[in-house]
Symmetry: C2
Subunit: 334 residues, 2 copies
DNA sequence: CTGAAAGCGCTAACAT
DNA sequence: ATGTTAGCGCTTTCAG
């Protein structure tokens, strides 16, 4: 097996103490330039690299952060992760990615896995099947730095980053109205998710502003977050039979799954669809779909910056900010 | 700050020694059932979790494996990662994912990052811009367990897993020929990649079997692996002007980018396209494209199993296997 | 069956 | 300017 060099070996080889080596390598001012040079040269020669695990044990920090998302195959999340990584890397942190696949059980086990002190903080986007937040609360109360992004929860007071979902949904709905659609339906992810609630509120507000009466029947949810195509198929069939003009789809995965269903639906062109999606091929799908693209990369960057701020803060932080970023509406004339 | 419970605390609280606690928690046979029960109960009560960093330092293993892929947003890779995770999780390993974004520099720094972070082994799919393999060789020679998947290299003797690219490409080309296409072009990723070479060979063999003379002019490569749309656009324009009947696209990312270009090309329907792709919406794109879907999840699982086998092997391994998995050809009649 | 003690590699307070 | 020592949390001989 591969045996890495240690400061002890360097110390013995040069007949100095380990502390001298340690200090020399961290460029301490209390070591003479000569010895520093000597030690650095030898360290380089035997290709010494400091053991991060030992250092972690010593100073109680692992210099790694955990990420919990529902699915990395989801374009929104893979883009967010790229944003997170760009900041983490720059600041010297490793990133450990875990996926809940929208399962509460998986979320639970991933969080406890991450929490067992191997990460300095966690970036969380909630699973769509989670309705009980005790596990996150406990983690937070025990002092684990946490930042929520995308699917945030109000129950915990910390930094949060997301798209301005209300605004994005409001504007999308207004656009649908402006284009002459009368009967507009809303198809969401699980109802307790922040993204579902905020996007529904934006939708309602837009209807309201145009004096369209909100109709409870025009709202359907996908409890399994778009994984279950049948769920979506049922909702779409229901909307069709209710002679809906347009649908706003409030989730990336649901948008894609809905497109799959619609591609096999004869009269799909009659429906105007606008969906939240960060898929890089959303504009190539048929039938055509207008879409709302979130600023995923920047959401990731912001979340990572916030988390590292908490981790590196010497004093406890009591003032937390919730940052909302604008999304882009891409209207496709059909 | 968050302070985790330690075995020391348990020991003091129950007036036993730390070693007793350690042994009790690892279910050693030399501890009485009574004390075990007592200790486990208290450990559970204060929510004790063993500190993996301390354990790593002690036994020289981190129980984590590193992954290096070009891009997690690529469906093939996100599916592969899911396969890797399923095995890793089951066997008690953490997974640290890094992306090269097909850059040689990034690959270099990620690998040294992973190595110094003391992962127990690394799963590698080479960047398309890498032509010098010294960095990987050195890592391997220093004893780091490595398994290559998808984009493998011959220069290093270890376990490897990939699609049977020759066969997949051979069959796809045969299908194109069978469907009456005469002039068949090949569009690949970077030419030194194993996936490019093997798929080109399969293409050549199929032409050969049908007595079609191989024409060097009918082969184009994308040096930037599909990131640069212009590169692809040029290749496609070139093929068009050469009145090609069909194109086989030998890379996931290139397939998607090519579709983007073709969606804006007037006579795109005249071309028959067949591309390697694991995108979950490939069948919804327009124009229609036939596709070769790799068994990504299983590739990931196999690679992870191989790596863990190396890591956990007590004796050095000298016999290495290269496993090739079949892909599925999805022919779409247009 | 249980305890004492060493040590994994590193840092830092406390000597000298 | 350099050395000594203790200790981070855990496992594992070695001693009872």
């Amino acid at each position: 097996m591969y045996q890495a060099a240690t400061i002890k070996q360097i110390a013995q080889a040069l007949s100095v103490s380990v502390s001298t080596v340690s200090r020399a390598l961290s460029d301490s001012h209390e070591i003479s330039e000569e010895t520093k040079k000597l030690i650095r040269a030898y360290a380089k020669k035997i290709n010494y690299r400091s053991n991060p695990i030992a250092r972690s044990l010593k100073n109680g920090r692992s210099n790694s952060i955990g990420i919990l998302v529902s699915d990395i195959a989801n374009s929104f999340f893979s883009q967010t992760i790229n944003g997170i990584e760009s900041i983490a890397y720059e600041k010297g942190y490793h990133v450990i990615i875990t996926q809940s696949h929208d399962s509460y059980e998986k979320e639970l086990s991933n969080l406890s896995h991450l929490a067992s002190r191997s990460v300095d903080g966690i970036l969380i986007s909630m699973s769509s099947q989670t309705t009980n937040y005790e596990h996150v609360k406990e983690l937070h109360e025990r002092g684990m730095p946490i930042v929520f992004f995308d699917r945030i929860i109000n129950e915990i007071d910390t930094f949060k980053v997301a798209t301005d979902n209300f605004k994005a949904s409001f504007e999308a709905t207004k656009m649908l109205i402006k284009k002459g659609n009368k009967k507009i339906a809303f198809l969401g992810n699980a109802p307790q998710l922040s993204i579902s609630i905020e996007r529904l509120n934006g939708y309602k507000a837009a209807l309201d502003e145009s004096n369209i009466v909100f109709d409870e029947q025009m709202v359907q949810y996908c409890l399994e977050g778009g994984r279950n195509v049948e769920e979506i198929s049922n909702a779409l069939t229901y909307f069709s039979s209710a002679t809906v003009d347009a649908i706003i789809i409030a989730s990336d995965q649901v948008s894609i799954s809905a497109m799959r269903v619609l591609s096999k639906t004869p009269d799909a062109e009659k429906l105007t669809i606008i969906g939240f999606s960060n898929s890089d091929v959303i504009d190539l799908l048929s039938p055509r779909i207008s879409y709302i693209r979130q600023n995923a990369f920047e959401i990731g960057q912001t979340a990572a910056q916030m988390l590292i701020k908490i981790i590196e803060s010497t004093y406890p932080i009591y003032e937390f900010e919730t940052k909302l970023l604008d999304a882009e509406l891409h209207w496709i004339e059909s």
